[in-house]
Symmetry: C2
Subunit: 364 residues, 2 copies
């Protein structure tokens, strides 16, 4: 839409009264110090950086009165215990990936991303305008948590493989470093998911005690050097169209905050959500280029039969999860319905535009 159409009703509202200030608080706002425990190490600097970005924004917006001190995984809380630590008030807040807690209730996984779920952009639309946020508000009540989406990786890579994956048969018995909810899907395909800490992955791939490993995407993967020991680099990471990170806040601490601070934290969280995705989008392309040139990585798409088998296995896992958890059933149904509509729309203007842009190199 463009143009002169906007020059309607000129002057009509010019005399409208300025709004009266509603209950402007004159009392100075309190000084507050919080601790935020991250599930991530500083070395994942884009993810950890999003939490830093958020805490700095909050400090700047409050003139330094509201300080949130950030701790990396393990400094004060183990990375996978952030949810517990926020729930029981050990820390006021944390940065985490909800799907780490899918063992408590598979519904947690939906607040990060599930196999063949929403992509990063669709996730925001569902959270804000598709009922997602309300459903999670309800869900998190039992955990004494107020959650704010505040980061997304975008679609990830499908990981590093020592041998080519030519069909779904090649997955049988594959020892792969991966886990969580997606590991359940992989298990149905014959993969043997392995739990390994980052520093142990490289030597295991080198020795051949591990056949494959997934991490994040080019920027983070490059630092770990997996291309040197497992040259086949597959895409897409179908287990998350985008991994959403959240800021978990202890509900009682949240309720105690002045409304101004609540508004600032919420704005900063959502801002960080977009910021992190943008940062990955900027950092990933040069890393990918280096990996496939000097790094000699072999970039490969998963064969369609692997994708289809994984998709079918995912649907089974969802049925099992829904049978076990009413929360999963309720939230997943909302997400699926929303996704159907998103796919209808995205295949039109967005895909039409993006697909053409991917062909402009061929235009003479």
């Amino acid at each position: 839409m463009k143009r002169r159409d906007f020059i309607a009703g000129a002057g009509a509202g010019a005399l409208a009264a300025m709004p009266t200030l509603s209950a402007a608080q004159t009392a100075a706002l309190p000084e507050i110090k919080w601790r935020m425990a991250s599930s991530f190490p500083k070395s994942l600097d884009t993810i950890y950086g999003a939490a830093e970005f958020m805490t700095k924004r909050v400090a700047a917006a409050t003139g330094g009165k509201f300080q949130i001190q950030l701790f990396a995984a393990g400094e004060i809380v183990p990375g996978l215990k952030v949810q517990d630590a926020v729930q029981d008030g050990t820390v006021q807040c944390g940065q985490t990936a909800p799907y780490y807690y899918w063992g408590k209730d598979p519904a947690f996984a939906l607040d990060t991303g599930i196999p063949f779920g929403l992509n990063a952009r669709q996730m925001v639309a569902w959270q804000l305008f598709g009922g997602g946020a309300e459903l999670f508000r309800e869900f998190y009540k039992a955990y004494n948590i107020h959650s704010i989406p505040s980061g997304n990786t975008g679609a990830q890579m499908g990981g590093w493989y020592r041998k080519e994956i030519k069909s779904v048969a090649d997955l049988k018995g594959l020892k792969m470093r991966m886990g969580g909810f997606a590991g359940e899907v992989m298990r149905k395909l014959g993969v043997v998911p392995q739990q390994l800490a980052a520093p142990d992955v490289y030597p295991a791939l080198e020795k051949g005690t591990l056949d494959a490993a997934e991490w994040v995407g080019p920027y983070d993967d490059e630092k770990l050097g997996f291309n040197k020991v497992a040259r086949f680099y597959y895409y897409p990471g179908w287990w998350e169209g985008g991994a959403q990170l959240c800021t978990y806040i202890n509900q009682k601490e949240w309720d105690k905050l002045p409304r101004e601070y609540q508004a600032i934290v919420e704005a900063a969280g959502w801002e960080a959500n977009q910021w992190m995705l943008a940062k990955y989008d900027a950092l990933n392309p040069p890393a990918l280029r280096r990996l496939v040139t000097t790094g000699k990585a072999q970039l490969k798409a998963f064969p369609r039969d692997v994708m289809v088998a994984a998709y079918k296995a995912s649907q089974e896992v969802y049925k099992e999860a829904a049978a076990k958890s009413p929360a999963f059933k309720r939230i997943h149904e909302s997400m699926q319905k929303f996704q159907t509509d998103q796919l209808l729309w995205f295949r039109v203007a967005e895909k039409g535009f993006d697909d053409f842009m991917h062909t402009v190199g061929q235009i003479k």
Copy 2:
């Protein structure tokens, strides 16, 4: 990335001292009232709604002390005069689409979106991490403006046509409501761009004095009822992979703001950027469904020869613009370079994921 890897360095930082408060201001923050002139009517409720969202967030984050009163196009400033009104201080700030001012300098167009330019997500990455924001900061100095991206429509539709467009030859002599920078490209393809206000478009299409019209996307288009008088609904709107709206702020007014308020306005603007895109993403699918079912719209992709001809014509327009404007040349070069990298990366994980999702309906 998942798992136990994060439990590294446990305890190490636990004893780190809490940061000392740096210059926490004890003086109460001032009460400030601003006026924001929008380039848009209230009827474009998603776009206008993003400005409302932003002003409400600012009020909430300041306990009502910083009030920005929003005016629709024409109420106090004509829609296409928002940039002038902000520059000369008639209003402290405005909501607008920078490309309306491409006649002053084609570089303005780059801050909204250009034909075959970045999509909405890539735009954020370029602004924040590709040098875009810095380049515009420099550019806007001459206009006394501080600009904050604060809304995006996503890829738009290609408009409504009374007759089918089977090849680029069908564009010759086509009287189409559209304008701005993209109108220059269309002109090279033989289209005769027309300037018409929204209420005049429907009758002109009905009478046949107009052959085609572009507006935004399903949600906004549906309200105008164009499907009743021009049934062919084309995609994609190649003239903008995403139209970015901005909050323009008079530089002197910006400089006078306390730093807290600057941080709050910036966070709210970027938050609105994501919010508006999400709202369109949620509203467009049901509108599209209605348009193609009960509305009897014929959904069509532009033929490839039209896309290719438009792409080539765009490159000519860019050459002309770069010859005329050093700012356009400088900023466009940065954008193009960034886009090349984005396309490299997006065709891998994101496209791999999205493309597969568009085929899941076929899986039995």
